[in-house]
């Protein structure tokens, strides 16, 4: 999204939003799905984006902000192109999640919660993601799981992602 330009949904996003409204008896119930559209469109949820969503949905801006702050997957600041959320809950730690985190930190030279200076990688921690049988694991860009991680496979993944040219 270009700087200084007020955020606005694309026509496709607007159509998707209108379709959502038909699913619920109240407009407010469409808030989380609409915030997901916004995060997909703009990458993260700035104050301006939240004001836009509040205006679009005829909801008090304070309500929208309060809701967003409750949910950990909604970003209030930009994240790297590749977001690595490593599970640090019990079953994953029993199978070596600490080592995986250590490996990523050293390779990317960042701490938990940080983004590399080139904006490519963000390292995050997550609670149990219902993948304990294939621990340790991470979720890439809030989408596919990468499971049964080893020191080798995590470094390979990072190299592969670093090599993608976008």
């Amino acid at each position: 999204m270009p700087a200084n330009q007020p955020p606005k949904f694309s026509d496709a996003a607007l159509a998707e939003y209108r379709q959502l409204l038909g699913r619920y008896p109240t407009q407010r119930a469409a808030l989380l799905p609409t915030l997901w559209i916004a995060q997909r469109e703009f990458g993260w949820l700035s104050d301006e984006t939240l004001d836009y969503v509040a205006h679009l949905m005829e909801l008090p801006p304070a309500h929208v902000r309060a809701v967003v702050s409750f949910y950990t997957m909604l970003h209030r600041k930009p994240v790297g192109r590749y977001l690595l959320d490593v599970c640090t809950n019990l079953s994953c730690r029993l199978r070596g999640a600490d080592k995986i985190v250590g490996c990523i930190r050293r390779r990317l030279n960042i701490e938990m919660g940080e983004t590399t200076p080139d904006g490519k990688f963000t390292l995050g921690s997550a609670e149990c993601m219902a993948s304990c049988g294939t621990a340790p694991m991470l979720q890439l860009n809030q989408d596919a799981y990468v499971e049964n991680l080893t020191e080798e496979s995590i470094l390979k993944l990072i190299d592969e992602l670093a090599g993608r040219d976008n």
């Binding site: 699913r23 619920y24 008896p25 109240t26 407010r28 119930a29 469409a30 808030l31 989380l32 799905p33 915030l35 997901w36 909801l59 309500h63 309060a66 809701v67 409750f70 949910y71 950990t72 997957m73 909604l74 640090t88 809950n89 019990l90 079953s91 730690r93 029993l94 199978r95 070596g96 999640a97 600490d98 080592k99 997550a126 609670e127 149990c128 993601m129 219902a130 993948s131 304990c132 049988g133 294939t134 621990a135 979720q139 809030q142 989408d143 596919a144 799981y145």
Partner: protein
Amino acid sequence: MERILTRWLDIPDLRKLDVYVGNGGYKALRKALFDMKPEEIINEVKNSNLRGRGGAAFPTGVKWSFIPKDSKKPVYLCCNADESEPGTFANRYELELDPHGIIEGIAITCRAVGAHIAYTYLRGEFTVQKRILDAAIAEAYASNYLGKNILGSGFDLDVFTHRGAGAYICGEETGLLESLEGKRAYPRNRPPFPAIQGAFGCPTVVNNVETLANVPHIINRGADWYKSIGPEKSPGPKIFCLSGHVNKPGLYELPMGFPLKDLIYDVGGGILDGKALKGVIPGGSSFPIFTAEEAVKVNMDFESVRAAGSLMGTAGVMVMHEDTCMVDALKTIAHFYHHESCGQCTPCREGCGWIEKLVTEIEAGRGKMEDLKVLIDAASNMEGNTICVLADSLSMPVKSFVPKYRDEFEAHIKLGRCPFKDRDGKAGGLSAAAGH
């Protein structure tokens, strides 16, 4: 044993509609629409003794019977696919590999309670699973297993998926309803119960994915057949989620009442590196841990696990061997519940925070002997004093870990460091147990 809930292991591509139908799929829905009255569906499920798989083990048919029969307001079904209890990963595979089994269970349940809209609330991380379920729902609409006048029965049903955004408390049924309504997922005071005032102020049934996946099988084969699997009071096939220090972690469908010892040593291939067992959490991290001696004597059904002093919860079986630092394990658990407490109730918010802080201090070698009593007191004080049972979900682990592994807690305090760590503090606790 015949695989029922995990038939996908025997039927490739079960997730596709034609394969599902080719293997008897949607026959139970036809039966429920054309051969049974709603009341008869409820009675069949009541008689089957099916108990909810979401953690609380509430009898499913009884829950459905609480929905008012003459409701002037719409009735809703919410399928709980928030699956966030640490150690639990059955719903995830059910969504990926048998979405039509869930949709059919949803449709039969809606018919039974008179609901015409069902929402499936998926945890925010389940993007892949949501795409698969959405595709299956679209297939079901296209073949009129959903939508208007289903199969010419006159029954209408819409099914929607709704994605959360990262908060464990959305799995608690009233937190789920608040979240669905576009709010923070603050659990509600009860009464009123969701059956009377649930989603959007209307009568609502909330059921777990696996509970609903059992329903078509019960309708097809009858309550007596269902009750013949496992112990009569908590019968049925059950998916066990085995994780931690076993050679073969994963999902295993077994009859209720299966011995935990055989699950670990036989089905699960035994303990990693042939080490000795130290402890097992039988039902997800919210529930009391069993020592090795206790674990090998327990059968895995709701009654037996309760009688042995824990709860079967979600059947998330977390196995820990001799190298595990139990203080570090409890610290991980305490961190989770503190992080996930919604903060509405002071005892939970402050109790979870305090417990995490105390266990963290002990693990770091900065604890005092009297902290052990304080921990137990803090855990006891938040029990039963809160809107939902998340507070109890930390209290139970604390009150089992501390007395059962007291020597380890004391060793941390006496030594001033974790006994599993090198003297320079490197590679300790759970890292050491993972073999690094």
